[in-house]
């Protein structure tokens, strides 16, 4: 079982979450080229090692959150933007 640290609910089983992957800035839909959209929709860095990921706590608080996960060890930590707001 992998635990995801939710800033609202505390550590929870990863099965309660939806994995949304690497956060990427959404291009401006009026100005982006088809290539930029394709990159936004389909291309990922897929690093072997620590990276930032977006998860959605669908069975819990229904909030999106960021975590840092090492893809080679599955070590998960709260993202720095959430550190300190765990109650």
């Amino acid at each position: 079982m992998m635990l995801i640290p939710c800033p609202w609910c505390g550590p929870r089983d990863a099965a309660e979450f939806a994995y949304l992957g690497e956060p990427a800035p959404r291009p401006d839909p009026t100005a982006a080229s088809p290539e930029q959209w394709r990159g936004y929709l389909y291309l990922r860095h897929n690093v072997a090692g620590p990276g930032t990921e977006r998860w959605y706590h669908r069975m819990g608080c229904r909030r999106h959150l960021l975590v840092e996960r090492d893809t080679t060890t599955n070590e998960v930590r709260p993202h720095r933007s959430h550190v300190g707001d765990e109650s």
């Binding site: 609202w8 229904r62 109650s87």
Partner: protein
């Protein structure tokens, strides 16, 4: 129409004998077992969404993860209302059967009444929705309730992590479920709230998981249906 005509049914089929309580067709079975499961769907259920740091949140006075039982002006006839901090900026108010419309109006009026006192109109966006017939609600009671619940979900239910008055949403038997600890007379008791269409499944799966713990179905009752003593359903 008298009180014995059923006009509502919960998603969970009542264990025989079927009786009518507050216009709901419910199970009239009475269990004296140590671990009981009751379909509490007739209780009024009203969802509230608002800014977690806003005025309504202040008026409700319940933060995410906690519950509060109040007998004040939330319900004009003075019955208890259990206000549950079910999510960030989300509350669930549980009241006596049949009180859902009154409770909805009372909750909608909370901001207005506050505004009249402070003299300032609120610009806060708030939604108050009656979910009574759209959800299933059950109550699991007994010293072994946490042990049974622990077989169906992966959160820490020890007294230290989940004391009386706690509320959390998690997966129970694979369903998104509000778990609300609401002890009665010193006995552990949990309210479980899920989508109506999942109610029968959750009910059955708890009975299945609790077979060797001796879990037994106990019917729904209100104080007037039993005696003058307050019961745990006397919201």
């Amino acid at each position: 129409m008298d009180d014995t005509t059923p006009v509502a049914r919960s998603a969970i089929s009542p264990a025989p004998p079927e009786i009518v309580v507050a216009c709901w067709a419910v199970s009239g079975r009475r269990s004296t077992g140590a671990l009981t499961l009751t379909d509490a769907s007739p209780l009024a259920k009203v969802a509230v969404r608002a800014d977690p740091d806003g005025e309504l949140a202040q008026a409700l006075g319940v933060r995410f993860g906690r519950t509060s039982r109040r007998t004040d002006a939330l319900d004009s006839v003075g019955t208890d209302v259990l206000v549950v901090g079910s999510g960030p900026g989300e509350w669930l108010a549980l009241g006596a059967p049949g009180r859902q419309l009154a409770l909805t109006e009372q909750l909608r009026g909370l901001l207005e009444r506050r505004g009249r006192v402070s003299g300032a109109a609120s610009a806060e966006l708030v939604t108050v929705v009656d979910l009574t017939h759209g959800r299933a609600l059950m109550r699991l009671t007994g010293p072994a309730a946490a042990e049974l619940l622990g077989r169906e979900c992966a959160v820490d239910l020890t007294d230290a992590a989940c004391p009386d008055g706690s509320a959390l949403r998690t997966a129970v038997a694979g369903l998104a479920t509000d778990v609300i600890r609401d002890d009665w007379d010193g006995t552990s008791s949990y309210l479980l709230h899920c989508e109506r269409s999942s109610g029968q499944y959750l009910f059955d799966s708890l009975l299945d998981a609790g077979t060797e713990l001796g879990v037994d179905v106990d019917g729904f009752t209100t104080p007037s249906a039993r005696d003058e003593r307050r019961t745990m359903y006397d919201f």
